[in-house]
Symmetry: C2
Subunit: 456 residues, 2 copies
């Protein structure tokens, strides 16, 4: 039995055997290792070493390992495999993995490879290559078990024995009519517990949940999550069954969508590539546009400060609290926007809830703002030893800024969603920038209202 | 066939039938509706209405619906169900759902319920109630299929026919020795495609990946994700098989862990309750500690500004760029910290990579900082029309701040992880606060070095 903790050791052992060309031991160890763990070995290999390792794999393991390799390692292998080997490998891949591989290749090379395929495969591949990147169509695979309602349990088991090993799942068999329209499904669990001559029509579950090829992957993930399925059928716009999606692909999507939101919310262009594989140059390229936009918008604060230069010159004490005030506003706004963005992403709230959400955040702002205002007053008066009315200005401003920040932080993501933009762009950096400017205006207006001699 | 789009309509229809007491139509529609969709109907019902609806459900649907209800709705039902009904319901629940339900109940009530159970169940329940909340033990369920290696395919299928319907999955059968030590598994896929007299020992897959009851749920989720499993066996510290975890629970955990990171990174205490269900008061309670801490740390900027009051008085133009400078620093730092925190959460980078990561971020900082510095210089000189050496001070400061922010933003989350703290606390709000103070010090030092008459 394999100890999970020793996976890293096993990778080390494989690398050691490869370096020392102990081929038969290597082959033996490979056959006892989960293909997913073999993938890790490819990371630091030269193309020639990768080829040696790859040729030692069992046919079915080779396909699984290749499917899981990252793009760089795939290309490395592709270059050293000869044409026949590569074509055989493509045929062994699951259909969705083959499409993923072809998608990354130059179109001319794809046509070259497809030349030797039969026209049916060629048409199918070309059809699949056209699904938009984040659609259910681009996620699905064609290796599902299709049965008709008049088959018996015995015939179904015989079919599974025959074709089962080439299917991604045999646990759900999809029942279609002769035009491939989806009628429902039978689960293998139901099949194995019935008499051999039972007709599938008796076991058929008709209230099947399905998705369309054009559905967005985020919605597909949500359906999986809601119902706890391990596979979902995909139909085209005439309700013909064209593929299935399995839960293992969905887990990655849930993680990937969260990662994209994190990236967008931090003010960087979302990127599918892992952080560790990105160069400093491409990281910078993804970050400069937002930093630049925010700096230029943030420069609006300079104009405000210039306008109120007289106020600052008159009561210089006001100046020293500016970063604390804008900082607290930014933090309060980030809290609101982050929670609202996430609640929309997990379908907890809808844009139509906006009144309820904004009112709730304003209430939260009043509570948080009051707490901060009291502490800020005490700190300004007793610690910084400013005049009591300056302390009052600072603490009133903090209350106002926190409330405004909560309102803006909760409203803007909902507005973005309403207008079809990604709410995640209305996150911390943008909210902070907006609140900085508004906060300063509020501050100086409160100061002019309360402090004597500031020209109101 | 059920159109997904019409789920909301179906909920409306169920509510309409319930209000108008059309019981037989209601019962009919319920039998054709996925239990998960029935759950939604309970949200706005009174306890009495909920009871009517609940009693109309088929036994197996009732258990599934109850397991999916939120805590408030569960308690509502619990109060109106009589004791016998509730005890029957608990027995129908999957073991993990039963434990979840008992966990939320007062200990005296749990003991009351357990009194009538046999001592074996009682011991098991008490054992399960003791697993820490986020451990594999608290996620697992006991409804798995356990077989011995000397059973035949025929015997296995007969066993499944017998006990299959009470198990959460029959697609993986776990092979154990007489002391329940896990030896491996056979998949139903293998079983149904073999001759009836084949021994399971011939089909046994021994290199099974498993987890321990004490493993953290985040690590369990990572194992599922890595290998694409739909179920994983859980063993105790003597390698006895004690439960299994299924992928549908894992999908929620991946989402929940991401949500917790979002909450922590926004500077709020993580909360399992949905945003929409939380009161303004509890939201405020989760946010005030961080806001207060950040405000007090941020107040350090007041001390710095006070110290450099002379500099500001001498060159008042310097003052108006402060929010833009600290804002850009905060944004640059947030980008770095968010990406690094997320890369650690997805196991893309390890604390041991810290040198590589920080060097990369410093390089990114130099590139981004240089781009911003050029634009800032042009903006200050041509638009704000300040003296050329003031524009130079501003643009040099922005370069320095961006580099420092990237270094701190990438280093602190790694340091937190290294010391066993959650890296997510080293996110935007804290980084911004630190960078604000450092940025001001850098700014005034550069100003004193470049501008004449500032007292160096």
């Amino acid at each position: 039995m394999d100890q999970n903790k020793s996976n890293a050791d096993r990778v080390d052992e494989l690398n050691y055997l490869l370096e020392n060309k102990k081929i038969s031991e290597l082959s033996d160890l490979l056959s006892r290792t989960n293909p997913i763990d073999i993938v890790e070995c490819f990371e630091d290999l030269s193309a020639e070493e990768a080829l040696v390792l790859f040729r030692l794999l069992k046919k079915e393991d080779a396909a699984e390992v290749f499917a899981q390799l990252n793009q760089t390692d795939k290309e490395k292998l592709q270059e050293v495999l000869n044409d026949d080997e590569f074509r055989d490998l493509l045929e062994d891949l699951n259909f969705d993995d083959m499409i993923d591989t072809l998608e990354e290749m130059p179109a001319t090379m794809v046509q070259q490879i497809l030349k030797s395929s039969d026209s049916q495969t060629r048409d199918l591949v070309n059809e699949y290559l056209q699904f938009p990147e984040d659609s259910a169509g681009s996620l699905m695979t064609t290796e599902f078990v299709e049965v008709s309602a008049d088959m018996t349990v015995e015939e179904t088991l015989a079919l599974l024995e025959d074709v089962g090993k080439d299917k991604v799942t045999v646990y759900t068999c999809y029942v279609t009519d002769p035009t491939h329209k989806l009628l429902g499904y039978v689960s293998l669990r139901m099949v194995v517990t019935r008499e051999p001559d039972t007709k599938l029509s008796e076991l058929l579950y008709e209230d099947v949940i399905y998705v369309y090829t054009t559905d967005d992957q985020e919605d597909v993930a949500h359906t999986f999550q809601k119902y706890g399925f391990t596979a979902l059928p995909v139909v085209d716009n005439t309700n013909r069954l064209v593929g299935i999606i399995t839960v293992d692909d969905i887990i990655w999507i849930i993680e990937q969508e969260a990662t994209e939101d994190f990236q967008r919310m931090a003010g960087t262009t979302p990127e599918e590539e892992d952080y560790s594989r990105m160069s400093a140059w491409s990281l910078a390229k993804n970050r400069i546009p937002w930093l630049m936009f925010l700096m230029i918008s943030g420069a609006f604060t300079s104009t405000i400060l210039k306008r109120y230069e007289d106020v600052i010159q008159t009561v210089i004490a006001l100046n020293m609290f500016i970063p604390m005030l804008t900082g607290s506003g930014g933090n309060a706004g980030s809290q609101a926007s982050t929670l609202v963005i996430r609640a929309m992403a997990t379908h907890d709230i809808q844009p139509s809830d906006w009144v309820k959400v904004v009112l709730k955040e304003v209430t939260v702002g009043l509570i948080c703002g009051a707490a901060l205002a009291i502490v800020a007053f005490l700190k300004c008066y007793f610690f910084d030893k400013v005049a009591i009315n300056v302390a009052l200005v600072v603490s009133l401003t903090i209350l106002a800024i926190v409330v405004i920040a909560k309102a803006i932080g909760s409203l803007l993501p909902i507005v973005a969603e309403k207008f079809g933009a990604d709410p995640a762009i209305m996150a911390s950096p943008l909210i902070t920038t907006i609140v900085d400017s508004l906060g300063l205006i509020v501050y100086f207006n409160i100061a002019q209202a309360i402090l004597p001699g500031l020209g109101i």
